[in-house]
Amino acid sequence: MVPYLFMGFGALLVATALMVVLHRNPVTSALFLVLSFCSLAGIYLLLQAEFLGFVQIIVYAGAIMVLFLFVIMYLNLPHDVEHGAHIALRRGIGWMVGALLLLFSLLLARRGWSPGPEAALLPGAEHGNAGAIGRALYSRYLFPFEITSMLLLVAMVGAIVLTKTRRPAGEERP
């Protein structure tokens, strides 16, 4: 059962990721990206990363993609119009680089992965692993966790400062 689910989610993931890159309309690309994030969340669930699966849907498919769609609609973009020899050349180079990279990684994959040590189960795997992740975050990874909060604060302030419209110097603030 699990391998079939994995194959289904994987096929959906690759198909939607390709559609993100191939589709002309940025809004459609963004919606396909939502679908690919959801299938990736399914794969996380199959890999016993329950917490990450749900965070993937909440943070990526929810928050980040809403931000993307909001900006796309705010900018009200025309479709990608691409033609001419030099665009075709660049597009050819792009796909070739991607295919070469894929070839190399598949060659690497064929050499086999060394399996690591195996324990019985992930800690707390019977009831989902949110508790275990929380314990690790608040003990061993406390400092990186706090740094992360600083990072988010800086990003928030930075985004607000960057998008603020500047008034001319003489004008009064309301």
């Binding site: 931000l67 796309i72 660049r90 607000i160």
Partner: protein
Amino acid sequence: MIPIGWTLTLSAVLFCIGVAGVLVRRNALVIFMSIELMLNAANLAFVAFAHQMRSLDGQIFVFFVMTVAAAEVAVGLAIIVNVFRLRETVFVDEINLLKG
């Protein structure tokens, strides 16, 4: 149990699609989405190894990567909005002030 080779191959395919997207597309927003695809490919590899090694550390790294991705998207989209206000375009071919 899913063999780790499958997951890592899927991750590699996803990463390559992201690289191709960055190289092929001209719309800065779609390039950004392709970067998200690459970040997610790396996350998938982390989760695969965490599953293989039966360790939580990989999943915690994915958590941090997601936070960094969220911060990156917020700041990056703010920059794109600014560029659009200045140049009325988000096509990276037309944003060429630094070319001299």
